[in-house]
Symmetry: C2
Subunit: 416 residues, 2 copies
């Protein structure tokens, strides 16, 4: 096989490479969870839209209600919208950016109507695709809903709500600090290092194959209390997925229900999602709150549209307007500025959403390898995207993505 550097979006297309095709698939076309193929490019381009075929999953049920039908108002002027990639990069078109970002699926809503939609590789309208950390924004929104209802106090320290965390670095962090990821923790979010915090957590959750003789925690509940403190809470934003796992635990314990059930009851069913979603779970049945949700593209877009419309979607107020307002208000950009995102100036991170603080009020949900919901209120635009970029970090993907979203928003405002 060619080196990954040689493969572009077309030559790494999983349909072209023929993973798992044929009965049986040839030995060199078989992918295996035990080899972590679902995490390695170019194999992950297949696995991202077939996660449930590699690992145990729980269902996020859409129920029996009617689908929230999205009006369609297709337009053909978006492919040509051009922009300059970040950092003095190339001038490129929206269409060029699809391949540059290893896009698997993307759609654009304008004023609530589908104006653009593309499916590439193996992803189709009815194919759930892993959303990675876009999951966090669903979880953060659920947390905001529980806070709004007075069921959780955002000022409470974690140890007061989860006694098992009393000896952990989270003990004296407030719920709000966990939501905004300003906790000071001994946990490294380095995806390429198997000995990092995220690597150890992935092992505990069973999301990646464990080394023979593994003796560590076998669920998120066993892992989280082992995380120590480093620095102070509340001083700066530091992106760490373990925060979201704590939120998942809080939601489950507060509601006395599995996270996937809460998500189904409070978002999936009332929003009239068109498909069930799959949720990766650990050995204890706990959903991987920080990155395990696999929705279909249009359902991710529906969530973005409801957030754009102050919580209204499917003809009803599904998310309280105050919740959306709390998210969109953002957090302190100075806390964000102390983190490691020089290419995102002026941004903040609030309740598991990324807030641009730009002049159109844009905010976004982001997942590794290019997953995104991008909401631009002033442009009345929502973009939902699945991708399988070779690089996990969005810093490699943002240069041809964020300026593309902005150019699209400006075009839609101009062209109407």
């Amino acid at each position: 096989m060619a080196e990954r550097e040689e493969l572009d979006a077309f030559t790494s297309d999983p349909a072209v490479l023929g993973w798992m095709q044929g009965f049986p698939a040839a030995a060199d076309k078989r992918l295996a969870w035990a080899r972590a193929d679902h995490m390695r490019f170019p194999m992950h381009r297949y696995a991202f839209s077939r996660m449930r075929e590699f690992v145990p999953t729980a269902r996020v049920g859409r129920g029996q209600g009617p689908v929230w039908e999205l009006p369609e108002a297709w337009r053909d002027d978006l492919d040509a919208v051009s922009f300059t990639a970040m950092g003095g990069g190339a001038e490129m078109s929206w269409k060029d950016a699809l391949a540059a970002n290893f896009t698997d699926a993307v759609c654009v809503l304008h004023k609530g109507a589908l104006v653009y939609e593309r499916y590439l590789g193996l992803t189709r309208r009815d194919t759930p695709h892993i959303a990675w950390s876009v999951t966090k924004s669903f979880v953060g929104t659920l947390m905001e809903m529980l806070i709004h209802e007075g069921r959780i106090d955002p000022k409470a320290p974690v140890a007061a709500l989860i006694p098992e965390m009393a000896a952990s670095g989270f003990a004296d962090a407030t719920v709000g600090q966990v939501m905004d990821m300003t906790t000071g923790l001994a946990f490294s979010e380095e995806y390429s290092d198997p000995n990092s915090g995220i690597g150890a957590m992935s092992n505990a959750l069973g999301l990646t194959p464990r080394t023979p003789g593994y003796q560590g925690p076998d669920s998120v509940f066993g892992f989280l209390p082992t995380i120590g403190k480093a620095g102070e809470h509340g001083e700066r934003f530091m992106y760490r997925t373990c925060n979201t796992e704590v939120l998942g635990w809080l939601i489950a314990r507060t509601e006395g229900k599995r996270l996937q059930e809460v998500l189904s009851e409070r978002i999936w069913q009332p929003l009239g999602m068109e498909q069930d979603a799959d949720f990766l779970i650990d050995g204890s049945g706990m959903a991987f709150a920080g990155g395990g949700l696999n929705p279909v593209l249009r359902d991710m877009a529906r969530f973005g549209e409801a957030m754009r419309c102050n919580g209204e979607g499917n003809g009803r107020q599904v998310i309280p307007a105050a919740v959306v307002e709390s998210v969109r208000r953002g957090a302190r950009p100075e806390d964000f500025a102390r983190s490691t995102y020089p290419h995102l100036p002026g941004w903040s991170y609030r309740s598991q959403w990324w807030i641009t603080h730009n002049n159109r009020g844009a905010f976004t949900a982001r997942g590794i390898h290019g997953q995104a919901i991008y909401v631009d209120p002033a442009a009345e635009m929502v973009v939902a995207r699945f991708a399988s970029h070779p690089v996990a970090a969005n810093s490699a993907i943002d240069p041809a993505s964020l300026p593309a979203y902005e150019a699209l928003a400006e075009h839609l405002i101009r062209a109407g």
Copy 2:
């Protein structure tokens, strides 16, 4: 924990035993695939309705079409219907039989309307439950459909269609013999023996944990060619799940599609099923054709209703009438009589369905631990049932089941 002999349907209720309840569940309430808890009573009572949370699964999609709505005409006279259990057993009521059979869910259609429905334990209307060998009847029906279309010749020897099987015991068996399970094979269907054929196959498919250092086949495609011949083909019925795996292979290769896709396109979508189903798969992504389907109860009933109505369901001819006619005609009872079912006199096995040859023309799909679709054409009745009986073999479950179905049919004919 109490010995399994001491546990009845109530004391072994998974909700009562509290498996996987709490955040986290207590250590002694956690179930693990690695310990094969999903195959052991009473733990399997939980797992049968949560299979996708233990193993990788593929989706059988219902698509986007409207649901085939089943009219409801609830009646309260069925619980009291009484019958005598087989073999001079006790007189019991239909209601008593629910617990006797460790029923998880059961519904009855009469003249196309739901007249009775009960959910017990953790199974609900929207909970997929493993159907075990009821799966075979879906697969056999798909095979009949392909034969009807001339895409597969039932007289062709297996080796002519699957060259990889040329050195196996299946080589000179015809497709029809495989469908009717009159193949002569060195394969034992002894569920309690891990060294049996079914045990080895389960290992190859990855449905049960492999022993450390396992070097055997890692997919059904690797396993099936290793099965030898024993005796002659076409002489007697002998129930062996490996036959159905060959049918699954034939369907996938003939259609050039995954079995789950063929099932979705030809049955799940046109019949207007109300939920997606989950299909257990092996490491190569191949569906476990002999027992891996997990539908919801009403969708299993819809399939039975279509078979009762000569292939018509959801307002259209989904299955050709000739296909249903071929199934209902049955096979030779004398081939069946040479097998090991003295309590099923006069029956035959045809295209993966069990044919009673009784005077009402009843036929049935059967799965271990009590899964069933029972169609009684004369009584215009269809019963669908999920169960999690401690014993796998239906010979332990039939005594309080088959007479119950017959009594129900007679009651419905009498009472109208």
